[in-house]
Each structure stands twice: as C-alpha cells, then as structure tokens.
Symmetry: C2
Subunit: 477 residues, 2 copies
C-alpha cells in the first residue's frame, strides 16, 4: 500500500473507485484488455459471498453442477432474441489442437442454451420436475468499456437454471430467487436493494419476464446487482425440453435462469466505502477484527503480547488477524487496515493492559467518536455486539442515503433534473417510446418497476397518458 | 437409473467405468467433442474433495485468488519447454466482439505464464515472499482421446503457484504439497497413493523437478492423481520475477506449481467401485447414509415413519437422505443406492420397529454378511463407528490389492511380464533410453521414483548398468 491519499469521493467518484480497488488489493488489471485478476483479498470477499448464497440455494432445494465452457455457435442461434442480444459480445474459439474447427465454439456468455440441450436429454417425465440446478462459473462477454468488478470481459458468477411443469411454478421460482437475492443483499452485504421487474427494453435476451435487485451507489447511480428471469417456454421450445405429464401427454417445460456476479463486489465497495478506503460489512468481511499490538520497547512488548494472545484465544472462530509486522508504525497500520475496510480494529498498548481493557475502533465511525474501551475480560461479547451494531449501522446509513436521493416526480422537467444526481420515481405508461425518450434526453434508464408498489394509478411522466405503475429512472453503471 | 446390469469389471473394465459414470449420474457427455457435464451427484463429490483440500491449503498459509482464462499467445512462448509441451493442445480464441484479434488468446491449459507475469508486478522485496496463492479453475487441453473425468478437453482443478526466496524453500514447498496430497488421498479418499519423483521424460513442461502421487486402479493400471512441481528459476527468468534481498540486491525468485483435478473423481471410482456400482468413501460421499423405509400398507407406514423421523433427528449434521419415493420397490431402491455408492444403507421395516432396531447394510460388504441390526436408541454412535470402519476397510482393501499387484523384478523378462497386469518395481539407471525401450516394448512407463526408498544400489533392469534408485513401471491412464 502506498501512503498517498486516495482521491476523494466527492472530487471524482470514479477515480476514487479505481484507485481503491487496486490500493486495497482487491483486484488488478490483467495483461489481456478488459480482464481482471481478483487478488486474494478480493477473492476472500467473493468466497464469503459465495458461501452466503450457496447456503441459501441449498436450503431451497437447489444443487450445483458444471456445464461446459464451450458452446457450439449453432446452439446460440436457436433462440432468436438470445442470439441477437449476445452475438456482438462473443469470444470465439476457431482453432483447437492446431486445426481450424469445423464449427466455431463460443466461450459461454451465459449457459441457457447448452443447459437447455442437456435438460432435453435428462427430463422425461413430470416425476423428473422440477430440475433445480446452479453452477458457479466464469463467463465471457466482449465488453468495450470495462471496469474492475463492474464490467469485465471475463467475470465470475453463479447461474441457476431450473425447469418446471407449469408457468406458475416457474414464476414462483423466479420470485423465490429474487427474494433470496434481496435477503442476501440486505442481511449479508448491508446493501439495501430494491427488488422489481425490468421493462421490456431492459430484460434479458430471451426472457419472458426479468426481475432485478437495484442498488444505489455512493454517487447515486444505480447498479443492477442480480437478476432472475422467467424464460417462459422460449428455451424449452428452442431446445425441445419436454416431459410426459401424468396423463402421458408430451408438454413443454417452463424454465427460469438467475445470476449474481463478482459485480456485487463493486456494489459493496461503492455502497459503503469512504475517503479512507473500503468499509466491509462484518458478515462478509474476510477479516472481521484486526488486532494491532502497540509497544515501543521489549518491556512494553512483554506486557502487551500476552494480552494479545489472550484476546486471540477469546476470539477463536472469528475471522481475525493480528498485525505483527515489525517494520511499520501503528499509524501506518491503522491507515492500511482502514483502506482494506476491516470493520473493527483492536488496539492493545501498555496502558490498555494496565487498565484491563482493549481499545476498539469502529471503521464506520472515524476518529475518537468510534473508539471504545472494552473490559478485556468481557471482550468477546462486546466485540460480537459491536460487529452486529456495525452491520446494522451500515445498512441504516445506506438506506438513509438511498431514500434521501430518491424523489417522486410528477413532471418531465422534475424528472430531468432529479436524474442528474439521484433517482426519480414516477408513473410510466409502459411504452418503449417514452422510456427511450428519457434515455436520449437524460441518459437515465428505467431501473425497475418495484414489486412493492402502492396500488393506484396516475399519468405517465413522459406522455401524460394513463399509467398503472411507477418505475425508477436513474443513470446506471 | 435403468435396471440393466452393469458390464462386470472383469469382463471389460473400461466399459464398466463408462457405463457406471453415466448410470450413477456422475457425469454425461457434452455436445462438444471431449467435453463433459459434471452432474449434481458428481459435482457434490468434487465439492467435498475441494473442501478437504482447501482446508489443508488454508491451514498451511495458502490463499485463493482468480487469474484470467485467456493468456496472450506470446506469454506461452517465453518459456521454451513449456510452449513445446502445451502448443499441440491449445484452444485459441481468434475472434472477439465480432473482430479478428490482433494477438490470438489461448484458453489457459495451465497458468504459470500469466501468474508469472502478475508476480513480476507484485513482488518487490524479500518481505513480499513467500507468495502462496492457489486458484480453483477450469482449464482446457485439446486432447484427442477423451474419457469422462480421466481426460477431458475442459477439466476442473486447483492450481497452486508459489514464489520463494531460495531453492530450498521452493523444494520444501513442493514436498509439503506432495505430503498434503498424499494425506488427502489416503485419509479422505481412501486411495493409497505412492508419492514419488517423476523421471525427466515424464516431468511437467518447464519444471526442474516434478513429483506425483500415483494410484493403482482396479484393473492394476496406474493413474497420476496429483502433481507438484519445483520450477526452479525457469519461469522467474522468463517473466522477470525478481525481488530485492536484504542486502538490496536484485534476485530471481524460485517458483513452484501444483495441481489436482476432477481426474481424482475417476481415481475414486476406479479404486473402490465393484460390479454393483460405485463405492464412495464415507468422508467424501455426497450421501453418507440413505434411509429406506419399508412398509406395505398404511398401518405399517404409521409404525415405520415415526421411527424414520426419530433416526433422522439423531443423525442431524450427517449427509443423509431419506428415500421416500412411493413409485419404487425397496429392492429397486437398494440397487439404485448401491449403484451410487452410498456407504451405508439403513432399512427400517415394521419388524425392525417392533424389535427396537434399525438394519444397517454396508455397501462395501455385499449381501447378508454386511447387514447388522443396530439398537435404535444408540443408532448415531453405531452408525458413526460403522462409517469409520467402512472408511478404514476401503483403504485396507485398496492397499492390499495394490501391494499384491506390485512385483519387484530383477530381469527385463520379468519386467515385461509383470507390467502386462501389474506394476514392476525395479532398479533403473535413470537414462531416457532405457525408459523409452520399456515404453516401446511394453507400453509401460516409469510412474515414479518413490520418496520412501530403502537405500541401496543395484543394476538397471534394462541395461544392467549400476543404478542408485528403484522406480515403478506400469501401464497408465
């Protein structure tokens, strides 16, 4: 870590983000354009995200599997909207083992097609349904403008693919996963997302209905943080995914797909970070507590280190780091761990030991206000409760920030102003023309039609025609 | 699962394997030549393998990260032996986003080069060493003759890449991992591997020394089940991985790499399986215990199901499945779970309930000999102890089989005969000519020079020249 200060968020949010991702050693640029290296600290965060999601997937009856990286080009062409959506972004293998391939292979941008092919082979009868499979995988989309975690050529994600006997069951699954993502985002990452439906223009290529969780970043821009798609029978018909029902009649399945990616790491950084660096939610932080021993000589060291060892013992099972580097000052270490967003720092100096305390410093409350002397004897309980408080405080702060930057608007003029630096919430007639006009005039897009919508009706903020639903407009990542 | 019998191992081992992998729903052929789909049951086994290894990696100070899938072609060319070894097997992306790429990108066959490039960027001083990074990843090698799990175009593995200040530290790391792999294979998978050094002809392209764990499959052929390489300074020099030592002088690093792949799933199948199907070691089995309730009418059901629920409660935390399928007979279910290799089956029928017992059937001991009535009240302790016994019995059986098929040989004639159906253990002078002669005459290759070698000296089994070490010769997968 260099000792230079980060560019501040208010000065240049985008530059702040780019510097922070690298200085905190979350990720680095790879030697291939648009690709990233996820460094150990960033990957440890992703592993915790994976564990929190995987636990939820398994608890709802899903199992993991692995489907091939390579997809025959002809597969993508079987679903019309799908190939139109993805063909500009494909990476294509044309040579294998020194020979030009007869049929080029696409490096998967998503796996509906190849999984659909396998489901057609595996599913015979209604007894085989539902099929509830997820995979943790890398995918490739040839993006032109890339940013670490937010948009990279290769990224890591989970993609769930399910097959059902009825439309209702597929829709239920799609919404179950939307709930699951919301629960994960709010309760694990302290990112207060808004679940809702995508407009037709914004939905997944090949989906009948797409749902999303939308998050507000620290610069008020929106980020699509996870999506869940009801694919109807589009892929079932393209790939002949059929089953014999209990009357022995052949029926097409109804399928869904849903994904959440390493992009979510970017969401955590941009939701909670401040000018000193990352702030990681305790439930996902790779290191929850860092202990910094403070001493100037051997005598002080012999006082401090036994107290450090005692605390370490008390905190067993927590994600803990003791910073024993000898070549660095405590001040440097404080900055370093602040940059990396460790939620709680514990300082133990000779005075602390004499007073029978340890000093805790909350990452989310800078300076003296966040420092608390904790009785050493009772440290574990206190530290656990501090972590719980930090988790709750991060969620509260992000929720307050979001809510203060969402503005209900009634007129097009208000809309145009609000989306410069916030989200507008407005009635919309649902037409693509109105949506496109907003995009062209302001660069803001429809983010989602929230699931939780007070019933009512009004007039479209763009065309003034009757409108049944409200939608969020915002500039997005 | 179809009710047809498997081809028997003695009749056609290779056909037995191919049928079993598919019938047990471990994997399936993908629509791309040589690629596989790992089905949920196979992936669950791989996840348990991953967890057992990852725990060991982390306990020895390693951290995980993720490096890109794509490697510029020019990177591979920087290490001469490496590019020679891998260039015939490359899959190459030549088109991205609709445009022909200026420099083709290789889909990684292994990641020494791109990781070397990043290490050169990250490592500055001796304080940065050692770097101990692992990644769980997919890799692609354009193989011509493929088999599910054993050799596929795309496979899944972990690849560790470490950098050190001295040769000794690198060699120590290489051997630490060899030990770790051995411990994993023996104590988790019950696969009694032999750790040893590879001959020069068999070592990794670009390595200074390669170590391997070699396992004997049920047909006596050898399978290389994991490898650990001391790369010397080959990659450090090719990629300029250097550090300032404590005298402020620039030095090249010493690097290692090591990997274990989904091939190991094949090793487990071919070590333990029998003519009824898989036999999975309890420590890795996705399902450790399957409970099959047995009843013919509602009265019996009302007797049996409460006992099933009680047992389920007792076994909480174990990997457990209750087979409640109503459309299938108990006999069909028994065959089904035997095919899938669940180590222990528990049958609960009305008589069992009346007698206060449950009936356990060991997968590793067919028929009545493997059936034990267990007092229901004490079921958990008994079942845990049975699983421990099964784990130990599998290891013992595989070790006995291996040892009875390894033969020390002194003459070339003996060697030629033994390797038709077993392993030969013989003095070898170390020359590539002798090794090649054996290969050409018998198709057997040197498998490893075991680490644990009684000191002594003899004469090479091929050329009769003095030889310091003994080596295993065998036909291999």
């Amino acid at each position: 870590m260099s000792e230079e200060k980060l560019t501040s968020r208010s000065e240049n949010f985008s530059e702040w983000y780019n510097q922070l991702v690298q200085r905190a050693e979350m990720a680095d640029y790879a030697p291939v354009r648009g690709c990233m290296v996820v460094r150990p600290y960033g990957w440890a965060l992703w592993e915790n995200i994976q564990a929190a999601l995987d636990r939820r997937f398994k608890a709802t009856g899903h199992v993991n599997a692995a489907f091939p990286l390579f997809i025959p080009m002809s597969f993508l062409e079987k679903e019309k909207e799908h190939v139109e959506g993805f063909s500009p972004e494909l990476a294509v293998v044309t040579i294998g083992g020194g020979e030009t391939l007869e049929e080029p292979l696409v490096v998967r941008p998503t796996s509906e097609t190849i999984i659909g092919h396998m489901y057609a082979k595996w599913i015979k009868s209604y007894r085989d349904l539902p099929v509830l499979i997820n995979q943790w995988a890398n995918v490739v989309r040839w993006e032109m403008r890339t940013r670490l975690f937010l948009r990279t050529l290769e990224f890591y994600w989970q993609e769930g693919h399910t097959a059902h006997a009825t439309y209702d069951e597929a829709e239920e699954e799609t919404l179950r996963i939307l709930d699951l993502y919301t629960d994960f985002a709010v309760n694990e990452a302290a990112v207060p997302v808004i679940p809702g439906r995508k407009s037709d223009a914004e939905k997944f290529a090949g989906a009948q209905r797409s749902y999303t969780i939308e998050a507000m970043m620290g610069d008020t821009r929106a980020l699509q943080a996870g999506t869940s798609h009801n694919l109807g029978q589009n892929f079932a018909k393209a790939f002949e995914i059929r089953y014999l029902d209990d009357q022995n009649e052949l029926q097409y399945c109804w399928t869904t797909s849903w994904g959440l990616s390493t992009r979510f790491v970017g969401a955590i950084i941009m939701t909670h970070g401040d000018d000193q660096g990352l702030i990681l939610p305790p439930r996902l932080a790779p290191i929850q507590v860092v202990i910094v021993p403070i001493f100037r000589n051997d005598e002080e060291k012999s006082l401090v280190m036994p107290a450090v060892e005692t605390l370490k013992g008390q905190l067993e099972g927590m994600r803990l780091k003791v910073d024993e580097r000898t070549e660095l000052t405590p001040g440097f270490k404080f900055n370093d761990w602040e940059m990396r967003g460790v939620p709680l720092r514990i300082e133990i100096g000779p005075k602390d030991v004499q007073n029978g305390v340890v000093t805790a410093a909350r990452r989310d409350i800078p300076g003296k206000a966040g420092k608390i002397a904790i009785p050493a004897a009772n440290a574990r309980t206190e530290i656990e409760s501090l972590l719980t408080n930090i988790q709750a405080a991060l969620l509260q702060r992000a929720t307050d920030f979001r809510d203060s930057n969402i503005h209900p608007v009634d007129t097009y003029e208000e809309l145009s102003q609000v989306v410069q630096n916030g989200w507008a919430f407005a009635y919309w007639c649902g037409s693509s023309e109105c949506e496109l006009k907003v995009k062209e005039d302001t660069k803001a897009t429809t983010r989602c039609i929230p699931c939780d919508q007070q019933s009512g009706a009004g007039r479209c903020v763009v065309c003034n025609q009757p409108a049944a639903e409200k939608v969020y407009f915002a500039k997005a990542y």
